[in-house]
């Protein structure tokens, strides 16, 4: 399609303006969200609320708002690039609806492709960036080929090309998540999506104040009053 002039993420002409206006180093994060029918009802509702909390928390921090970039891939029936990379200031949380099966493997692949593209744009525009995050939220198990994607994730983690986090909502197939992710996947406590996104935002704020390339110790999400996960 129209690569130069479409108002999306393309790295061409507009990208340069965007990056010239805001040359701050970026903290890219792509959310990979399960929107298959198993997420229906209160779950998707809480998730939608969580996304709004996420945006508000990021916006409350002037520096993080300029540095954190969010993208979103959903998989329910089919894989959709719901949100292309935007800085937190421009992030409009979409209202997600549930439908169809769980093509998790393809969704992760799409997300990792998006990270690749974005990194290329950063490099072309002389923008420093932190290690990108891919953040998977699911309550099911993939109904497509996920094994090839597992080796892609492991290779990416080894090369420090990105960090991959997996969060299982009740009903998720943890065995698969464990094989997919190089890090230990976490269970979400109940429907604490708001806490999850608060944690995500504050972790990213911490990262956005560190320096690209640094390991930032993350707050243990399984502990404390604001914890949202268990192992």
């Amino acid at each position: 399609m129209n690569k130069f002039f479409a108002d999306s993420t393309f790295g061409g002409a507009f990208g340069a303006v965007e990056f010239a206006e805001n040359p701050e180093p970026r903290v890219p994060c792509v959310l990979i969200v399960d929107t298959s029918t198993s997420m229906h009802g209160p779950r998707i509702g809480e998730l939608n609320k969580g996304l709004k909390v996420y945006r508000d928390e990021l916006l409350s921090d002037a520096l993080a708002a300029k540095r954190v970039e969010v993208a979103m891939v959903t998989f329910g029936g089919r894989v959709t690039r719901k949100v292309d990379f935007v800085t937190a200031t421009n992030f409009q949380p979409p209202t997600l609806e549930v439908v169809g099966g769980t093509p998790m493997g393809a969704a992760i692949n799409t997300a990792l492709d998006m990270i690749e593209e974005r990194r290329k744009q950063y490099r072309e525009n002389g923008i420093a960036y932190y290690r990108p995050w891919a953040f998977l939220i699911t309550d099911g198990e993939p109904n497509d080929q996920w094994q090839p994607v597992a080796s892609r994730i492991h290779a990416g983690e080894r090369q420090k090309a990105f960090s991959f986090f997996a969060v299982g909502v009740k009903g998720a197939n943890m065995e698969v998540l464990e094989k997919l992710s190089a890090r230990k996947p976490l269970w979400l406590q109940g429907m604490k999506f708001a806490e999850l996104f608060r944690w995500l935002s504050s972790s990213q704020q911490a990262v956005s104040r560190s320096s690209p390339g640094d390991e930032v110790p993350l707050v243990d999400p399984t502990q404390g009053p604001h914890g949202w996960a268990f192992v």
Binding site: K3, F5, A13, A20, A62, K66, V99, G213
Partner: protein
């Protein structure tokens, strides 16, 4: 106060302070407003009780307070204690009000919001004041240590003040209280990757951070070490700092860096400032001679007296010693308007439009590099050359000679019958020798081996060549697509004068189509009465996925889809289309165009021109990048072809060193056998015919 632990603290004079709302939170403590005292803030440390080291440092700081320091920093006034335990728990310091973080001045979108009046010279002034604040500290032998974009606040008058002073490195008598932290993007190369807790910071270290802050201000947010990197691998700012790769430096050969697009250049500043940056950012090991804060004040003060307004755009201010306005240049390249007037864009001078117009007329579409098949030539075997002299004949040579001789003798069969017998015996004997002798076998093996290696290399090369051709073709296709788009956009620009409405209609259509295409039936089945998952897959199999496709259902006659459902789908499509909101192009919408206002046309054209120029710039880089890429790939191919060339040469040398007869006959056991039998066979035939 949120934590609920502490509501009131008492300072060393016994004055009580009631903590109010939380203003900020950091690694060491939280900062609160103080109830009823708007000019004060209290920082309460997370760690309690404070270590003796921290206590001593805070006491030393309070003791060092002077009016001079008060003028440039929120210097701690007093230590505060918890009334319950009487333990020290924090400090009170002045609260800097009506000021914002420095990054909210140099960051363009924040600046538009918080400092809408600020022009480039405001940033220069702020930089000057930052230098003055550093100068004051350095004069008092205080080192900031953790220089960063967050510990300085700037107000509307560009007055600058430090906050979070308790992390500074100060001395008290013999004792030095270190600054344990640092922000890597502001940390000099000599301290990169070093544990800062163990380092005594120097004024020269601070001067590095100061130069980075000044750079951020003068270059509207750019970091001096973030640029395009030509070397291998990913470049981080820390690595660039450590390797002194100042992206804006003139010495590109050393830095392998280029400034990012749409940015100010080093030569837009006076030469003295340019040298200051080179001195600050590329100082070699073992030298401590970065420009001092005082020197910066002098240079920036001088720059402030050379102010020039741009004749095209009054929001553009620049150094009057420059021949051209750098902000216009950036905009002409399609970069952003870093500084705009309030109510913006409505005031566009006619010259500016003419100028852009001229730029567009000069616009050249770059040429994509060609890949000729010649460049991907695969080395082939070379014919052996004739030597003047050969080494001493080997067994194989002798056997070949005997074989040829015996064959010749066989031909005498019609005249001398016994010659056939002798020739045959000779042929067989020499043939056997040629087949079985070590030398002959080694010759065959060696040749086969070389030939096989060469063939393998050729295969590999062929694959590489194909990959290069394919990658090039892909890049070319994408380039050509982009060129076509650019031409279409240029046509929109030209059409704007007479048919702005039509042009907008095209944009609207494109947007609407994109909006509809992204609205999948599949995702919204619930909104369409009668739609089931099964039906969505049926529709999908007919290629009907989004509202735009709905029209085609009637033509296709999709089974299982009732007329009622088609009506529902139609209604749904209309509902979706109604949700669409046209994002006006360049702030120009239909009502503007309707008004027939010339202003709207101008606004549209200026923005569109910029967009085109930027895209053409991008095309140039694309073509250039592809050329570099192709050169690199061809280079790589050439290097990869080296073993094949070597092998071809080796094979030739080997073959050349063999006597031609031996080389011709001793190729393989089969040919040797054929040659052995050929003489007797022909001799036999001749005998039978003529004998």
């Amino acid at each position: 106060m949120k934590s609920g632990m502490l509501h009131e603290v008492v300072d060393s004079d016994g004055e009580k302070h009631l903590l109010d709302e939380l203003i900020g939170k950091g690694g060491e403590g939280s900062v609160f407003a103080v109830d009823g005292k708007p000019a004060l803030a209290a920082k309460i440390f997370h760690q309690s009780p404070l270590t003796p080291e921290t206590m001593a440092k805070l006491q030393a700081m309070v003791a060092r307070r002077t009016p001079g320091l008060d003028g440039i920093a929120a210097w701690p006034r007093s230590i505060v204690y918890s009334p319950l335990t009487n333990e020290a728990c924090g400090i009170v310091a002045p609260r800097v009000r009506d000021a914002r973080h420095l990054h909210e001045l140099y960051g363009t979108s924040a600046r538009r919001r918080f400092f809408p009046q600020a022009r480039w010279f405001h940033l220069v002034l702020a930089a000057r004041n930052v230098a003055a604040a550093f100068d004051k500290l350095h004069e008092s032998n205080i080192v900031v240590g953790d220089v960063n974009q967050g510990n300085l606040l700037v107000d509307e008058t560009m007055r600058v003040r430090f906050i979070d002073c308790d992390s500074f490195q100060i001395s008290s008598g013999e004792r030095i209280f270190r600054c344990p932290v640092g922000t890597p993007h502001f940390t000099p190369p000599e301290l990169q990757g070093i544990k800062l807790r163990d380092v005594e910071r120097t004024v020269d270290h601070d001067r590095f951070g100061l130069a980075i802050l000044i750079f951020h201000l003068l270059f509207v947010g750019r970091h001096p070490f973030a640029g395009r990197f030509f070397g291998d691998g990913d470049q981080t700012i820390e690595r660039a700092i450590a390797e002194r790769r100042f992206a804006f430096s003139r010495d590109k050969a050393a830095t392998l860096m280029e400034p990012p697009p749409a940015s100010l250049r080093l030569d837009d500043l006076p030469a003295s400032i340019e040298q200051f940056f080179e001195r600050a950012f590329r100082q070699p090991d073992g030298v401590a001679n970065r420009p001092a804060a005082r020197e910066w004040i002098e240079q920036l003060d001088s720059l402030l007296t050379h102010r020039q307004g741009c004749s095209f755009d009054p929001a553009h201010l620049y150094d009057n010693r420059l021949a051209h306005c750098p902000w216009c240049r950036i905009e002409d390249e399609g970069g952003p308007a870093f500084f705009v007037l309030d109510g913006s864009a409505s005031i566009i001078s006619p010259q500016r439009v003419e100028h852009l117009e001229a730029q567009l007329r000069r616009l050249k579409y770059p040429v994509f590099p060609e890949l000729s098949a010649q460049k991907l030539k695969i080395p082939q075997p070379i014919a052996p050359k004739r030597l003047q002299s050969y080494p001493r004949p080997s067994v194989a040579d002798l056997a070949t000679a005997a074989l040829v001789g015996s064959g010749a003798i066989c031909l005498a069969a019609p005249v001398l019958p016994w010659a056939l017998v002798a020739g045959t015996l000779g042929s067989l004997a020499s043939g056997v020798v040629l087949l079985a002798s070590n030398v002959a076998m080694a010759n065959r093996r060696e040749r086969d081996q070389l030939a096989k290696e060469l063939a393998d290399e050729q295969n590999t090369l062929q694959r590489k060549g194909r990959a290069i051709t394919a990658a090039h073709a892909k890049r070319q296709a994408s380039f050509e697509e982009s060129t076509a788009e650019l031409k279409a956009e240029a046509a929109h620009y030209r059409a704007a004068d007479n048919q702005l409405k039509d042009v907008l209609a095209v944009f609207r259509m494109t947007q609407l189509n994109k909006f509809l295409t992204n609205h999948l039936i599949f995702d919204h089945a619930a909104e369409i009465p009668g739609m089931t998952p099964e039906l969505t897959s049926v529709l999908q199999s007919y290629g009907i996925e989004n509202p735009l496709d709905v029209e085609r259902i009637k033509l296709l006659g999709v089974p299982m889809v009732s007329d009622g459902l088609i009506l529902e789908l139609d209604a749904w499509r209309d509902r979706v289309a109604r949700q669409f909101v046209f994002r006006s192009e360049h702030g120009v919408n239909f009502s503007d165009a309707d008004g027939g206002g010339k202003a709207a046309v101008t606004r549209f054209k200026v923005a569109q021109a910029r967009r085109i120029l930027m895209a053409s710039h991008h095309l140039d880089t694309l073509a250039e990048g592809s050329r570099d890429r192709l050169d690199r790939e061809l280079n790589y191919f050439d290097r990869s072809a080296e073993p094949a060339r070597e092998l071809a040469k080796k094979l030739r040398n080997f073959q050349s060193a063999r006597r031609p007869w031996e080389r011709a006959i001793n190729q393989s056991p089969l040919i040797v056998a054929a040659a052995t039998l050929a003489g007797p066979a022909i001799g036999g035939v001749l005998y039978w015919l003529f004998g």
